[in-house]
């Protein structure tokens, strides 16, 4: 047996809960990771192929007499790049299907004349997309925008609308590589086609297809998801929120909403505020209903409604272990199939809601967007009625912190307006941020995104990296489970300013923002793209010229690979804390970590030590500053 403690010391695991899990004989992700050791080297290096039934094939690198080609003749380069590309396609598919659901939700909202929260943003987007706005009702506009968005997934000609947001030079680079995303589904399908047996065997060409599918995510599916979510549910504004598992309440009906799509979580937010249901909870002996969020859907409702952020990816099982969760309501993505086993040991009901994601052992209550609030009410009632089944075996952890979140591009610009001079500057621009960077007060901006992964100390990689960056006057923006990690570590509190270099601290004090800005869920990384595009256009340079970088220190999902790929293809330097399954092909590894920079201006870097990663980012930022002569 390996040293168990190396997994347990992770910050994300609350010690009291881990101990309880052990006492209750609950198997967690850490136990399974331990049991999996050692993991298969062929898969780890990306040189195992199961793309046809002549396989599985594997390329043996360590001994000279092992097979060097698949049965069809595919080389390590072909196999590793096909695997990588398929992962990217899956990631893009996940985000994009999420975007499609939001577009559909907007369509139904228009049809049923349900309220549209951000009419201003709706109008702006309609104008951006060339939709006639004058004299049109909100519903009419919403339905037109939804239709246009839905067409982005399968339109036969042209390219994605949001490509136009990118700076001119970026568009030219994409054009020259023929990777300008065309239609989201098509770009994903093309990867699946060309990675079929006997199709594309050129690793560079395979990655090019993957790049196109990834760009279809960042500048397509994810961006649609974010923009339309804001329109439907409101654009986030800064506010306080509580985080970590201590947000669960012993005397309330606790509902954890976990997954990704805000359509479900938004409906739940409405339902838990329904007086009848609150009354029902009281009848059952509870003080009320406590809705908390987990992973990205948790980010969505925290950003828009201040719903507490219960935890991130590695905490989903521990949430159930508390014994106070009446229902964990999930939709799609990053939901561990182990959850029903954990739930079984307590009274917790795991409720699946999407026909795209069912889990054996869970209660399935399908969420119907046409009937969203009614569905949500039924789910909440199910949770309320489960309160009485709670046992004495409960432990609500003390761990809980407060932070300030809600930094959409719009609220960042509004904050920047606060430090413009009425008599000297225009409002509504990114000028103050650009000035802070150009003057050197801020050295640059870095995005920390991604998941948890047992291969690196969970949460610690996010947190150490963020701390080292802010200490060196780099503003950090974050999304996804990285955002959960940062808020739990107090990096979104007022006190965090004390951890900053003088330059960043000064900016934070002036702007009244924390040094780590929570910009939302994983699809909201499109907000970061949008911000970078605005800054590039303002400075009249390309994204690749900016003193910025990104990191996914604990990434795990295929979505993260798609994100990393679209970031690199958008000109961003991306540091991965976990090595992707590519090392079996030196050519592919070199292509992703070096050659791509010559083409796109961005590249992957692999560095698992968060402090070293921070310094690589700092070096990169200084190089870019030199090139800009600032």
């Amino acid at each position: 047996m390996q040293d168990e403690l190396s997994y347990v010391k992770d910050e994300t695991a609350i010690p009291s809960l881990l101990k309880k899990a052990k006492d209750d004989k609950i198997e967690t992700v850490w136990d399974r990771a331990l049991a999996m050791q050692p993991q298969c080297g062929f898969g780890e290096m990306g040189v195992c192929c199961t793309n046809c039934s002549m396989g599985p094939c594997r390329i043996v690198k360590i001994s000279p007499d092992g097979p060097k080609k698949g049965i069809c003749g595919a080389t390590e380069d072909t196999i590793a790049s096909r695997n990588f590309a398929r992962s990217v396609a899956a990631g893009s598919a996940a985000h994009s299907d999420h975007g499609r659901d939001i577009a559909e939700a907007l369509h139904y909202a228009a049809e049923q004349k349900r309220p549209i929260k951000d009419e201003k943003k709706l109008r702006a987007l309609a104008e951006e997309w060339g939709i006639q706005t004058e004299g049109r009702s909100v519903e009419d506009l919403a339905s037109k925008v939804a239709e246009k968005a839905l067409n982005e997934f399968g339109k036969p000609f042209g390219h994605l609308q949001f490509v136009e947001r990118a700076p001119q030079k970026r568009k030219e680079i994409w054009e020259s590589m023929d990777v300008t995303p065309r239609a989201i589904d098509r770009d994903i399908v093309e990867v699946l086609h060309s990675t079929h047996m006997g199709c594309d065997a050129d690793y560079r060409n395979i990655i090019t297809a993957a790049v196109r599918a990834a760009l279809s995510d960042g500048w397509g599916g994810s961006m649609i998801g974010t923009e339309l979510s804001d329109i439907l549910f409101g654009t986030p504004v800064p506010h306080e929120v509580e985080a970590n598992l201590g947000v669960l309440k012993k005397d309330c009906v606790n509902i954890v909403v976990h997954g990704h799509e805000p359509t479900l979580s938004e409906a739940l937010v409405l339902a838990v505020n329904d007086p009848d249901l609150i009354e029902a909870a009281k009848q059952e002996g509870a003080q009320g209903i406590n809705l908390v969020g987990m992973c990205c859907t948790g980010n969505e409702v925290a950003m828009r409604h201040g719903i507490p952020m219960a935890g991130n990816f590695f905490q989903q099982e521990l949430a159930v272990v508390t014994g106070v969760v009446e229902a964990m309501v999930v939709d799609v993505q990053c939901i561990m199939p182990s959850l029903p086993q954990v739930a079984k040991c307590y009274h917790t009901k795991l409720i699946t809601t999407s026909r795209k994601a069912k889990i054996p052992g869970a209660v399935h209550m399908e969420f119907d967007e046409k009937n969203s609030v009614e569905c949500a009410r039924k789910i909440v009632l199910e949770a309320v009625m489960n309160f009485k089944n709670r046992t004495d075996n409960v432990l609500v952890p003390e761990e809980k912190v407060t932070g300030r979140i809600g930094y959409s591009v719009e609220s960042i610009i509004r904050a920047l307006d606060g430090i413009t001079n009425t008599f000297a500057h225009q409002s509504g621009t990114v000028k103050p941020l650009v000035d802070a960077v150009k003057s050197g007060v801020l050295r640059g901006v870095a995005a920390i995104v991604g998941c948890n992964n047992h291969r690196v100390p969970a949460d610690q990689s996010h947190v150490l990296l963020a701390k080292e960056l802010i200490k060196n006057d780099v503003l950090v923006v974050t999304t996804g489970c990285g955002a959960h990690a940062c808020i739990k570590a107090g990096l979104m509190s007022e006190d965090a300013v004390k951890l900053c270099g003088k330059g960043l601290a000064t900016c934070c004090e002036l702007l009244k923002v924390p040094p780590v800005l929570h910009m939302g869920s994983c699809v909201d990384i499109s907000r970061i793209l949008q911000l970078l595009a605005i800054i590039s256009k303002y400075m009249n340079v390309d994204i690749k010229d900016l003193p910025v970088a990104a990191a996914a220190p604990e990434w795990m999902s295929e979505k993260a690979l798609s994100i990393g790929t679209y970031a690199v293809a958008s000109g961003i330097y991306v540091v991965l804390g976990v090595t992707p399954q590519i090392t079996g092909s030196e050519n592919l590894t070199k292509y992703l970590t070096s050659d791509m920079e010559n083409i796109y201006g961005g590249r992957f870097e692999i560095e698992s030590d968060p402090i070293k990663a921070a310094h690589k980012i700092l070096d990169h930022i200084e190089v870019k500053r030199k090139q800009l002569d600032i």
């Binding site: 009425t422 150009k438 003057s439 060196n472 600032i630």
Partner: protein
């Protein structure tokens, strides 16, 4: 060149100038010559407030040079840039102190040079009550005498205390602006380094009224930032030296507003090329609101509200 590099260059120039003038003065007067500003109990106030040490002789003054050197660390970050600005301020004080060595009276009409403690004590109360709503330090040269007069008067009518450094003094004289302490317009000197004499006003205010302990630099900077509503207008071409002195002002919490092309720093270094808007820009930058009722009806009264901070979205 990056903004920080300009600051470092200016600070190094100040240091070099400081070294050579100290050397020259020592050569002329000997190491034991007395060093003191007239009418103060705070020795060389900047050095005293920053280090807690009083300087009495040229020999002691010479020992300040390594301290200035240690403040200039050419690393690209705000902290080091502000320290370099403070180095320039200390160097300026050393240079000015050399001028006063012996029984010299280096400043003559109309310039005032060093400002004695008694004046600061008399200014303290109106500054605290807001009767003097702010302190404007104008360095350099306006594009014309008329522009200079307009800017100076716009502050005077609002009751601000105005200090002048450089050619703007002549521009004020040319336009027959009456100057003097009671008129709240004080010409300091023609050299950039004479700006230190207004810096020491702020510093002594911190020591006298703020009870800041000499040697507690952090407290000192906090006091000047929070309690001394000063700002700088740097007009006309900016040398590296002026920019690094500006960094010193920013370190003390005083924003710099200039009419020249320079990389802006939000809230701290602001470009305003429209001279009619310099006063309004400056008052907003320093968060100075004019107490309209307490102003003795002056000419140009209507402009009194220009300093109000009005946000477009509010």
């Amino acid at each position: 060149m990056s903004l920080f590099d300009i600051i470092f260059t200016g600070s190094e120039q100040a240091l070099a100038a400081c070294k050579s003038i100290v050397e020259k003065t020592v050569a002329e007067r000997g190491e034991n010559a007395k060093v003191a500003f007239p009418g103060t109990a705070y020795s060389l106030p900047t050095i005293y407030a920053a280090t807690g040490k009083k300087i009495n002789t040229l020999a002691e003054l010479k020992n300040v040079i390594p301290m200035i050197e240690s403040l200039i660390v050419k690393e690209q970050n705000l902290e080091k840039a502000l320290n370099a600005g403070l180095a320039t301020a200390v160097a300026a004080e050393v240079i000015e102190a050399c001028k006063y060595v012996g029984e010299n009276t280096p400043y003559a009409e109309p310039c005032i040079g060093f400002i004695p403690d008694t004046v600061i004590r008399s200014l303290g109360v109106p500054l605290v009550t807001g009767d003097i709503p702010g302190v404007a330090v104008i360095i350099g040269e306006a594009p014309s005498d008329e522009e200079a007069a307009k800017i100076i008067k716009s502050y005077q009518t609002k009751g601000l205390l105005v200090f002048l450094v450089g050619k703007i003094i002549d521009q004020a004289i040319n336009t027959k602006i009456k100057m003097g302490l009671e008129l709240r317009i004080i010409p300091l000197g023609y050299d950039v380094t004479s700006v230190i004499h207004v810096v020491t006003v702020a510093i002594r205010a911190a020591l006298i009224f703020g009870n800041v302990q000499p040697g507690n630099l952090a407290e000192l900077l906090k006091y000047t930032k929070e309690r001394v509503p000063a700002f700088v207008n740097a007009l006309g071409p900016l040398s590296e030296l002026v920019v690094s002195a500006g960094a010193g002002a920013i370190a003390l919490g005083f924003p710099v507003i200039t009419d020249q092309d320079v990389q802006e720093v939000p809230e701290n270094l602001i470009v305003q090329k429209d001279h009619d808007k310099i006063a309004a820009t400056s008052l907003e930058a320093r968060g100075i609101k004019i107490k309209i009722t307490e102003i003795p009806i002056p000419v140009g009264f209507a402009a009194a509200f220009e300093g109000e901070r009005v946000r477009k979205e509010d």
